[in-house]
């Protein structure tokens, strides 16, 4: 199936730990994104990345870092996890046409709970 897939789907971890969320897309898209959805369902962009440019939302703490081994993958590293990091994290991808039309393809999300 062509899709954006994220792992794990659920992640429960203690404060202070470091964790990663993986994302892979097989759509041939050139740009990938990470979004955070809070408890009130507000979806907020964290990063936009293609092989030329990383755009970081200025409100994202530097404990969060995207890592892209290749065009099809964009992983999210989080250091020193805090309670406030608990949220659902969505990976998405688009190509140039999709960016202009809003046609982003989202993964199913990773629910992160920090205890």
């Amino acid at each position: 199936d062509t899709a954006v897939s994220q792992t794990p789907k659920y992640l429960v971890t203690q404060m202070g730990n470091d964790k990663s969320i993986k994302c892979e897309q097989n759509l041939g898209h050139d740009t990938m994104y990470w979004y955070k959805q809070d408890s009130k369902k507000f979806l907020k962009i964290m990063f936009s990345y293609n092989n030329k440019e990383l755009i970081i939302n200025e409100t994202v703490p530097n404990r969060f870092s995207p890592k892209s081994p290749d065009k099809a993958h964009l992983n999210l590293h989080i250091n020193s996890l805090e309670l406030g990091d608990s949220a659902v994290y969505f990976c998405a991808s688009s190509d140039l046409e999709g960016r202009a039309s809003g046609g982003y393809t989202f993964g199913s999300g990773t629910r992160l709970t920090v205890v």
Binding site: K40, L43, F90, A92, G102, T105, F106, S108
Partner: protein, 110 residues
């Protein structure tokens, strides 16, 4: 202050009862206004893009319209399977990255 405001927050309808969801925006230089559908436990699914005032798009029971200040998502004779959260987003200026509203949670009762 939110650039994109959706109302109502939640909407309950009976099957067949038509209604509209609203998305108002305060941005200038609109590149596009987008509607997404999100089912519980899933990521948003793209529905429509609208680019200029007066434009309309349709898909099955859904019709999206756009004015200079707001967009409406009209749902005609909804079915229970239309139950979902509907998200509106805008892209402005030089960025195609959409800024999302907080969504409208729609429940359609059989």
């Amino acid at each position: 202050e939110d650039q994109v405001t959706q109302s109502p927050e939640a909407l309950r309808l009976q099957e067949g009862e038509s209604s509209s969801l609203n998305c108002s925006y305060t941005v200038s230089g609109l590149r596009g206004l987008f509607w997404y559908r999100q089912d519980p436990g899933k990521g948003p699914e793209f529905l429509f893009t609208l680019y200029s005032a007066g434009e309309e798009k349709e898909k099955e029971r859904l019709k999206a319209t756009l004015t200079k200040k707001e967009s409406f998502l009209h749902i005609t004779a909804p079915k229970p399977e239309d139950s979902a959260t509907y998200l509106c987003a805008v892209a402005t200026g030089g960025s195609y990255i959409p800024t999302f509203g907080r969504g409208t949670s729609l429940i359609v009762h059989p």
